[in-house]
C-alpha cells in the first residue's frame, strides 16, 4: 500500500540535510542522528570482531600453532568474543535501530530525554576508547573473565572491564529513556495493544537492561577491587569463592542473551507480516511471550555452571527452569510461521533474512535442550557444541535479524534503495558460509573438541578445515553486503516513503524523515497490521 505521498524532487530538508558539519552531529539531540552514530561505531566493531574471528579460524586450520603462539590465540578469541558481545551484539539493535525507530514507530518527535540520549552515546564512545586503551596489554581471559585467572593475569583486565562498565552505564540510561518514551510519548490512540511488536520487544529488552546491567557493573567493580587491592572476594586463599564470580557474571549474562535476541525477534515480527501482506498471527502471544522470556530469563543463569561445582540441588533447579524458557520462544516461531499461512509472500531481501533468522535460530534454539538437560550438558559443556549453539543463536539469530532490519530500514534511514541483486548475492554467501562454518562444530563438539583450544589432536583437523573454509565464504558475503550498503548511499535509487507497503508509522513519513519526524502527530485508530483480505 504505497501511501499517497509521492516524494517531490525539490526535497524538503530531512534529518540528514537540515544541518551540516561535525559538531551538528556530535551535539545533536535528534534520536535519528544518535541512532546513526551508534550504528556506525557498532558496525565498525562488528567488522573488527569479525577479523579476529577469521584469525581464530585461520590458526585452527592446522593442529599445531602454525600461525600464532598460544598466547596470541588466547588474545584473539578473547578480543573476538569481547568485541562481538559488548561492542556489537548487545548494543546494536537497541542503541542503533531502537534509537532511530522507537519514536518513529510510536508517533513521537523524539525520545523522552534527548539530552540524556546524547550523554549515553558519549558515554558509549568513552567506553569504547577505554576498551581500545586496554589493547596495549590485550586481554586473554575469554569473554567470561572467570576468576581466579582473570584476577591474576598480567593483561589489562582492569582497564577493559572499566570500559565495559562505562558502556553498561550508557546501556542503562538508554533503557530508561526507552521505557519512559514508550510509556509517555505514544501518539494519541496508540494503546498498548496497538503497539508495533518491535516496541514490545524493545520494552522487554529495556527492562532486562535496567535490572541486570547494574549487577554486571558491580561484578566488574569487585573484580577491579580484587586486582587493584587484592581484596580476595573470589580468591579461596583469602576465604573468597571463585564460583561466586560465576554466579554474579551469569546472573547478568544469561538475561543478556535475551537482550541480544529479543530485539531481533521484534524486527522479525515487523517484517514477516509486511512481506506476507497479512496481519501478524497471535499478536498478544508474541507480545506477552517477550515479557515472559524477560522474566524467566532471570531464573536460569545456573545452567552455565552444571559442571562448575555447584550443589546437585542447584543443578536440578536450574535445569528445570531452563526448559521453561523454551516454550515462549517456541510460541513466537509458531506464530511467525502461521502469519505466512495464505499470505501473499514477497521474497525481498529483508524477508529472506527474516526467513533465514527463523531457520537458523530454530537450530540454535533446538540445540539448547541438549545443553539444558543435565546428562547431556555434562559432556557437551565447554566444547565446540556450545560454540556452535551460541553462534546459531547470536549469528544465525541476532545477526540475521539485524541484517533483516538493516535491509528493511535502509531506505528509511538513507533515502536510498539497496541494490537487490547484490544484496541477494551477499545473502547467499553469508547463508552458505554460515552453515559450512558452524554446523560442523556441533559434531566437532560432540566428538569432544574443547573450546578455546589453540592446538588440538590431529583427528579433529578435517572438520576444522571445513569450518575455516566456511569462514572465508561468510566473510566474502559480509564484505559484499557492506559494499552494497556504502555504494547505495550515493548510487542507490531514490527511496519512496513506503517502498514495502508497510503499515507502521515510520513508513508514513518521507524517506529520510525530517528532523521532527511528523509535521503533525498522527492519531491512531487501528493496530499496525490491518492488511486487507481477499476471498477466494
Amino acid at each position: 500500500m504505497i501511501n499517497g505521498l509521492i516524494m517531490n524532487e525539490t526535497s524538503e530538508p530531512n534529518y540528514l540535510t537540515e544541518t551540516r558539519g561535525l559538531s551538528s552531529w556530535i551535539f545533536t539531540l535528534d534520536h535519528k542522528r544518535i541512532g546513526i552514530m551508534y550504528l556506525c561505531i557498532i558496525l565498525f566493531f562488528f567488522l573488527v570482531g569479525g577479523v579476529f574471528g577469521l584469525l581464530v579460524r585461520l590458526e585452527l586450520l592446522k593442529p599445531n600453532n602454525w600461525l600464532m603462539s598460544n598466547q596470541t590465540y588466547n588474545e584473539m578469541f578473547t578480543l573476538h568474543g569481547v568485541i562481538m558481545i559488548f561492542l556489537f551484539v548487545i548494543p546494536v539493535i537497541p542503541s542503533a535501530l531502537g534509537n532511530f525507530f522507537i519514536p518513529l514507530l510510536i508517533g513521537a518527535r523524539d525520545v523522552a530525554f534527548p539530552r540524556l540520549n546524547l550523554f549515553s552515546v558519549w558515554l558509549f564512545g568513552a567506553g569504547v576508547l577505554v576498551v581500545i586503551a586496554s589493547f596495549s596489554h590485550p586481554i586473554d581471559t575469554g569473554w567470561t573473565f572467570y576468576t581466579p585467572y582473570s584476577a591474576r593475569t598480567a593483561a589489562a583486565v582492569t582497564i577493559l572491564v572499566g570500559g565495559i562498565f562505562l558502556m553498561g552505564m550508557s546501556t542503562i540510561l538508554t533503557a530508561l529513556n526507552f521505557i519512559v518514551t514508550i510509556h509517555r510519548l505514544r501518539a494519541p490512540g496508540m494503546t498498548w495493544h496497538r503497539l508495533p511488536l518491535f516496541i514490545w520487544s524493545m520494552y522487554a529488552t529495556s527492562i532486562i537492561n535496567v535490572i541486570a546491567t547494574p549487577v554486571v557493573g558491580m561484578t566488574f567493580m569487585l573484580l577491579m577491587a580484587e586486582r587493584l587491592f587484592g581484596i580476595g572476594f573470589f580468591d579461596p586463599a583469602k576465604g573468597g569463592d571463585p564460583l561466586l564470580f560465576q554466579h554474579f557474571f551469569w546472573f547478568y549474562s544469561h538475561p543478556a542473551v535475551y537482550v541480544m535476541i529479543l530485539p531481533a525477534m521484534g524486527i522479525i515480527s515487523e517484517i514477516i507480516p509486511v512481506f506476507s501482506r497479512k496481519p501478524i498471527f497471535g499478536y498478544r502471544a508474541i507480545a506477552y511471550s517477550s515479557m515472559a522470556i524477560a522474566f524467566s530469563g532471570f531464573l536460569v543463569w545456573g545452567h552455565h555452571m552444571f559442571v562448575a561445582g555447584m550443589s546437585n540441588a542447584a543443578d536440578i533447579f536450574f535445569s528445570f527452569f531452563t526448559f521453561s524458557v523454551a516454550v515462549p520462544t517456541g510460541i513466537k516461531v509458531f506464530n511467525w510461521i502461521a502469519t505466512m499461512y495464505k499470505g501473499s509472500i514477497h521474497l525481498d531481501t529483508p524477508m529472506i533474512y527474516a526467513l533465514t533468522f527463523i531457520f537458523s535460530f530454530v537450530i540454535g534454539g533446538l540445540t539448547g535442550p541438549f545443553l539444558g538437560a543435565l546428562a547431556t550438558d555434562v559432556p557437551l559443556h565447554d566444547t565446540y557444541f556450545v560454540v556452535a549453539h551460541f553462534h546459531y543463536t547470536m549469528m544465525g539469530g541476532t545477526v540475521m535479524g539485524l541484517f533483516a532490519g538493516l535491509h528493511y530500514w535502509y531506505p528509511k534511514m538513507t533515502g536510498r534503495m539497496l541494490n537487490e541483486k547484490v544484496a541477494k548475492l551477499a545473502w547467499a554467501l553469508i547463508f552458505v558460509g554460515f552453515f559450512v562454518t558452524f554446523f560442523n562444530m556441533f559434531i566437532l563438539g560432540f566428538r569432544g573438541m574443547p573450546r578455546r583450544w589453540a592446538t588440538y589432536p590431529p583427528r579433529f583437523q578435517t572438520q576444522h578445515i571445513i569450518s575455516t573454509v566456511g569462514s572465508w565464504i561468510l566473510a566474502a558475503g559480509i564484505v559484499i553486503m557492506f559494499y552494497n550498503f556504502i555504494r547505495c548511499l550515493k548510487k542507490g535509487e531514490k527511496a519512496p516513503p513506503n517502498p514495502w507497503g508497510a503499515k507502521t508509522l515510520e513508513w508514513q513519513v518521507p524517506s529520510p524523515p525530517p528532523t521532527g519526524n511528523f509535521t503533525e502527530i498522527p492519531v491512531i485508530t487501528d493496530w499496525p497490521y490491518s492488511y486487507p483480505k481477499r476471498d477466494e
Binding site: N70, N74, P148, Y149, T153, A237, P242, L243, R277, K278, P279, I280, F281, G282, Y283, A285, V307, A308, G309, D315, I316, S319, A326, V327, G330, I331, V333, I337, A338, M340, Y341, K342, G343, S344, H346, L355, I358, V362, L366, P369, G372, L374, A375, T376, V378, P379, H381, D382, T383, R447, G448, P450, R452, A454, Y456, P457, R459, Y529, Y531, K533
Partner: protein
C-alpha cells in the same frame, strides 16, 4: 597398549546411557525442526506472490485457540520429558557406587597430577582396571580447570580451595583422552593426559611392581629416566631428536641455547634446574611458554637424577 588408537565410542555403561539421552533429544528436536521448517518452506512456495495476481492475502486469521493450545501443550510435554530423562541419567553420573577406588587429582597450570592409594604420584597418565569403579577427587592448585574424559561423557571443573568429584567404570581396555575444558591460560590446549584402562590381572601386577619400584634404589641416570616418565616430561620433550611441544633433549646438555630475548645460554646443570623449578624465567626461542613448574612436585635429589639422565642423551 598405550599406543592403541584413542577410542571415542562410549567407554562405560554411563556413557552409553548419556548417548541414549542424546539420541532421545535428537529425535524430539528433529521432529520439531522438520515440522516447523517444512511448514515454513511449504508456505513460502505455496503462498508466494506471483506476478499478475492481486497482492492480497486470502486469509486474515489472527488467532486459533485450538492450534495455539496444541503448540503450547505439545512442546511443554516434550521439554518436561527431556528434563526428566536428562535428570535421571545424570543421577547415575553423580552417584558414586560403593567400593569405588579413590584417586586424587590435582590440576595445575598445565598438567594433571594423580595420586594412587599407595601414595605414588604420576603426572598426565593414570591407570585404572576394567570393571572397577574409580572416583577421581579433584582440586586445583591455581586457577580453574575442566577435567574432561570425552569417551566417558563426563566432565567436572577442578576448583582451587574445594573438592569436586567425578567417577567412572571403564568397560574396555585402551587408552583414553583426558582434556582440560575450562580455560586456564597459555597451556590450556596442551593440558592433556591419558587414562589407561588395563585388564584387572595385568593392572594388579603393574600396581604391585610400581609400588615396589618406587622403593628400589636405581643408578642415578636410570632414576632420572623413571622420574621424567613419572612426571610426564616426555609428553612435551623427546629424547631422540624429534620436536614436540618443547625442544628435544638429545644433545641438549652443554649446548648453546638461543632464548626468546635474543640471548644465548649454556644448558648446564643450573639452567636445567631453573627450567624445572621456574620455567617462566627463560624461554627457548620459537617455543610456547607452556612448560609447567614442577616446584613442590619434584624433590631435590630427583632434579639431580634428571640432569644425570639428560647428560646421557647424546
Amino acid at each position: 597398549m598405550s599406543s592403541a588408537p584413542t577410542a571415542f565410542g562410549a567407554a562405560s555403561h554411563v556413557a552409553s546411557e548419556v548417548d541414549n539421552v542424546f539420541i532421545f533429544i535428537l529425535v524430539i528436536t528433529a521432529f520439531f525442526f522438520v515440522a516447523t521448517q517444512g511448514t515454513l518452506i511449504y508456505f513460502v512456495i505455496r503462498y508466494r506472490h506471483r506476478k499478475g495476481r492481486p497482492d492480497v492475502a486470502t486469509s486474515s486469521v489472527i488467532t486459533n485457540r485450538i492450534l495455539e493450545g496444541i503448540w503450547i501443550g505439545v512442546p511443554s510435554i516434550a521439554v518436561a520429558a527431556i528434563f526428566f530423562y536428562g535428570y535421571t541419567v545424570w543421577e547415575d553420573i553423580r552417584t558414586v557406587p560403593k567400593g569405588a577406588e579413590e584417586i586424587n587429582v590435582t590440576a595445575r597450570q598445565w598438567l594433571y597430577q594423580f595420586q594412587y592409594p599407595d601414595g605414588r604420584k604420576s603426572i598426565n597418565e593414570v591407570r585404572v582396571p576394567v570393571g572397577q569403579a574409580v572416583e577421581f577427587n579433584l582440586t586445583s592448585a591455581d586457577v580453574l580447570h575442566g577435567f574432561y574424559l570425552p569417551a566417558f561423557r563426563i566432565k567436572q571443573d577442578a576448583v582451587p580451595g574445594r573438592y569436586t568429584y567425578v567417577w567412572l567404570r571403564a568397560s574396555d581396555p585402551g587408552s583414553y583422552d583426558i582434556f582440560c575444558t575450562q580455560y586456564c591460560g597459555v597451556g590450556h590446549s596442551q593440558m592433556r593426559a591419558k587414562l589407561i584402562v588395563m585388564p584387572p590381572a595385568r593392572y594388579r601386577q603393574w600396581y604391585r611392581q610400581e609400588t615396589a619400584k618406587a622403593e628400589k634404589v636405581l643408578p642415578l641416570a636410570d632414576k632420572g629416566k623413571a622420574v621424567v616418565q613419572r612426571l610426564g616430561c616426555l609428553a612435551c620433550h623427546s629424547t631422540d631428536g624429534t620436536v614436540k611441544v618443547g625442544p628435544t633433549w638429545k644433545n641438549l646438555y652443554e649446548s648453546r641455547v638461543l632464548l626468546e630475548n635474543g640471548k644465548t645460554v649454556i644448558a648446564d646443570d643450573n639452567y636445567i634446574r631453573t627450567k624445572i623449578l621456574n620455567p617462566a624465567a627463560t624461554t627457548v626461542k620459537g617455543f610456547p611458554k607452556v612448560m609447567p613448574t614442577f616446584k613442590g612436585i619434584i624433590k631435590d635429589d630427583e632434579i639431580t637424577a634428571v640432569i644425570a639422565y639428560i647428560k646421557t642423551l647424546k
